[in-house]
Symmetry: C2
Subunit: 145 residues, 2 copies
């Protein structure tokens, strides 16, 4: 679909990609050696831990892939696996201390990039953008929390 005026999806991709690149670069530069795929999984872990299959669904990869990435994150000390008290089959992937520190750096960069966007778009349009995307999520994200 070659086009001079990219569709809305592509426009979102471009901006997203910029955010992702900036965040990952900063986290890696801070000495937390994490890959893009690992970060995409890590990002989805909830405050009380999340099951592997849920992470897989949300990141849109198979559970095998998610398991593979969680293995790496665990070996690097970013996450830990604990038994799920409510279901003997399941285990919860939880953010560990080192992961928390890396997450804080990431959050800082996210705030920084968003501030740049506000500076370029203006506060009003940035607010609209966030609201519209949140609304759009209702029909595009089956795993909306």
């Amino acid at each position: 679909m070659p086009q001079e005026t990219p569709n809305v999806g592509v426009l979102m991709f471009v901006a997203y990609r910029e955010m992702e690149r900036r965040v990952l670069d900063a986290v890696v530069a801070a000495g937390y050696d994490v890959t893009l795929a690992q970060a995409r999984i890590f990002q989805r872990i909830g405050p009380d831990g999340t099951r592997l299959v849920e992470l897989a669904d949300q990141a849109q990869v198979t559970k095998q892939t998610a398991g593979f990435l969680v293995d790496q994150l665990e070996r690097a000390g970013f996450v830990e696996r604990v038994a799920d008290p409510t279901d003997g089959r399941a285990r919860l992937v939880r953010i560990a201390e080192r992961g928390r520190r890396a997450g804080e750096i990431a959050a800082g960069v996210v705030a920084e990039v968003e501030a740049e966007w506000v500076a370029h778009l203006g506060k009003r349009r940035m607010g609209q953008l966030r609201d519209t995307l949140t609304k759009l999520r209702e029909i595009t994200d089956p795993y909306a929390r």
Copy 2:
């Protein structure tokens, strides 16, 4: 960066991913066997053909990776390589007949998904979204055409 209220980047990713998945599924279902990575390159090819390095830059992969994917697209008959008349070092990747047909299917699905978004958001907000993202592209896409 686990969070209940995802940042704007993640929100864009979710919607983008939905669009991408829908388009790719439709194209593959129509018998055009193309992978995600191939589609991301293909999508960037301009109407008069585009150089490999440009495709690589825009898709944010190395030129080797882009070359690898263009090889596959060429073998499958989606694109063709022609010499660049203005520069003997370069060749232009151009969309071939089969690619054009696949691109038409993709464009149809894009229109369909966008129509769903308009139905959910309203015409006004969809217009704002497009405008805002286009504006945002000024600072997030160094390769904006």
